[in-house]
Symmetry: C2
Subunit: 218 residues, 2 copies
């Protein structure tokens, strides 16, 4: 069986699980260090501060090749969190996600929002449908201003494209507006957010996106 | 034939070509935006300024998934430069390098130093021996302070480990000394250089490394 056919089978299974249990699952992709874990932490804090309105239950699955530093950062926020080490693979796939969900299926089925942090890599993860509801790609200005135009296949299917660490743009000689133009050229439908997770820029827009997909009133 | 067996065959062929023509080939790996192209540009400028002593002939092969922006940056420095697009693969392999070398074999055989920029990815490229003489991994502080400990397999076989953009460390709350400790734990033999290509930090140490391997007198 080829890898992508098997992946489709498990993605379908995951998607059925999310739909049956009314879970919004978000696949967060991006290069190493783009800000994926920080985005998850800030999202959990906003939800705890009732910025999304009703009491939402959040789950998080933290993918990495090796180590549990991201899992430790997120699990201290008392949400249902699981580490997911691939060992060698440079991407998460639907099979390994399916396996992780089933390890704590009774807890995961009661959540409203599942944040899945993919392996830090801007090339391979976008080939593998996990069964997610939305795909978010977060890229940072410190990766250089050509990073979006160099990876069209990664950005073409994103629902949200976040350009992060924008306050550092001058320090790395990057034109943020060129990055925005490149993103629009590749994907005219995606929501594009200019962000700085440290300075709080763009977090409001991200929370508004979540509010709209989680169908919560304020 | 499995992928790594075929890769070994072409790596051997590349290595024979480099040895017969007394070429030092350096495989420069690192995540997207870590500073690979900037390092190549600064290296070429130092050589042109005779900082390495004798007149050295430099070649460069610029690997990327897509696009030629790195090739354009380097080829304006009038060196023998070739773009190498993988289309989809998240790493360079010995076969595709072998093919690129043969396209201009008469020119490449006369160079002294070949700088190979691998695809921007911190996971897969280190699995593929290209036949290179030295392996350099460049990582930037903006990728987060856990980036080295999370990718042991990438750093274990490096000859040089460069920690780049160090002047930005405070802005991303990163402890550079922890990154140095992590690098030493994984690989006690590698030369570790703290660098900032914009501010010129560590470039002297890099040039000294090149001088030592190119066996040039000052
Ligand atoms: N200045 C600034 N620093 C940021 C921002 N977002 C993240 N950082 C820093 O960037 C580094 C990496 O952030 P993470 O959230 O760990 O990135 P990641 O994408 O989860 O990294 P991996 O899981 O290793 O791929 C950390 O040192 C953060 O403090 C930002 O918007 N501005
Ligand atoms: N402040 C600062 N910026 C740097 C440094 N090195 C590189 N940059 C910037 O970082 C960005 C990426 O640098 P590149 O040299 O293009 O990185 P790369 O590794 O070749 O990127 P890819 O080929 O896309 O993987 C550019 O905007 C550079 O100006 C540095 O030491 N300090
Ligand atoms: Mg992370
Ligand atoms: Mg480059």
């Amino acid at each position: 069986i080829d890898v992508l056919t098997e992946n489709k089978r498990f993605a379908k299974d995951n998607r059925r699980f999310f739909n049956e249990n009314e879970i919004i699952a978000i696949n967060i992709m991006g290069a190493v260090g783009s800000g994926k874990t920080t985005l998850i932490e800030k999202t959990i804090l906003a939800i705890k501060n009732k910025e999304l309105g009703k009491e939402l239950k959040v789950g998080a699955i933290l993918g990495d090749v090796f180590g549990d530093s991201d899992f430790k950062r997120v699990s201290k926020h008392s949400v249902i969190a699981e580490p997911l080490n691939t060992g060698k693979e440079c991407h998460l796939d639907a099979h390994i996600l399916n396996h992780t969900l089933h390890q704590r299926i009774d807890e995961f089925k009661n959540i409203d929002l599942l944040l899945i942090e993919n392996v830090g890599n801007l090339i391979c993860p976008s080939d593998f449908d996990l069964g997610e509801t939305y795909r978010v790609v977060i890229v940072s200005v410190t990766e250089g201003e050509d990073v979006i135009e160099k990876h069209p296949l990664t950005f073409v299917n994103a629902d949200v494209i976040i350009i992060n660490k924008v306050t550092l743009a001058n320090l790395v000689d990057v034109d943020v507006e060129k990055m925005v133009r490149d993103a629009k050229k590749i994907n005219s439908k995606a929501k594009i957010i200019k962000m700085d997770l440290k300075d709080g820029i763009g977090i409001e827009e991200w929370i508004n996106f979540l509010r709209s997909v989680l169908d919560v009133s304020c």
